[in-house]
């Protein structure tokens, strides 16, 4: 029972273009969503989050969009840079302190 799904295992984007990573969830009780970035041989690092009372949150080059009716969130990275190449995980919580993670999407930025 995968409550948080990232259906694209990998994504390749040219440097300078927009990267869009997608995430779907099934549990309507989720009210807070997070994105993490992970480089090889390192732990995930927190990137950006959004509460269910908002539909957009922006931090520099990173923007997260939330569509509650579709149970879908996306992470936009503009412009994409080589250092953005990593695995990205979305996560969700219903306020219980426990996070449910997706499978991850490997983003590769090509020069």
């Amino acid at each position: 029972d995968q409550q948080v799904k990232q259906n694209s295992p990998s994504l390749s984007v040219q440097e300078g273009r927009i990267s869009i990573l997608n995430c779907d969830y099934t549990n309507s009780m989720f009210d807070y969503f997070l994105w993490y970035k992970k480089y090889p041989a390192e732990g995930p690092t927190f990137l950006i989050s959004i509460s269910s009372i908002k539909d957009k949150n922006e931090d520099g080059r990173f923007t997260v969009f939330l569509n509650k009716s579709a149970k879908h969130l996306s992470l936009h990275i503009v412009p994409s840079q080589p250092g953005d190449s990593a695995v990205y995980f979305c996560a969700a919580t219903s306020g219980a302190q426990k996070l449910v993670f997706g499978q991850g999407t490997r983003l590769t930025i090509n020069p």
């Binding site: 807070y32 041989a41 732990g43 995930p44 927190f46 302190q97 426990k98 993670f101 499978q103």
Partner: protein, 113 residues
């Protein structure tokens, strides 16, 4: 900055051995978590703890146990290691009531032969 450290970056153990993975956080966080990461499966929660001596099972607790005797330290124990426990193990902590963002350690790559 929050710092979460794990005792080993790489570990090789034999089938049947007892394995201890240690995790320490220095930010007085209430919550601590153990995950394993496997390709295509994302991060799966093994156990978590909301307080000293408190523990709760995550999604895949079979074959594992945990110990939290001090607030800053959370140990994962593999009672009898098996080859299907070869994985990347990640420890995390979070403030609790003050926030749900989890801060991760660098991970331990465990290989069981």
């Amino acid at each position: 900055d929050v710092k979460v450290t794990q005792s080993s970056r790489y570990l090789v153990k034999r089938t049947g051995e007892k394995v201890f993975l240690e995790c320490v956080q220095d930010m007085d966080h209430e919550n601590m978590f153990w995950y394993r990461q496997d390709p295509g499966l994302g991060l799966r929660l093994i156990y978590f703890s909301y307080d000293v001596k408190m523990k709760e099972k995550g999604d895949i607790p079979e074959g594992y146990s945990v110990s939290r005797e001090k607030k800053e330290r959370f140990s994962l124990i593999l009672e009898s290691a098996s080859t299907n426990q070869t994985s990347m193990y990640l420890c995390a902590s979070s403030p609790g009531a003050l926030g749900v963002e989890q801060y991760f350690g660098p991970g331990t790559r465990l290989t069981v032969t």
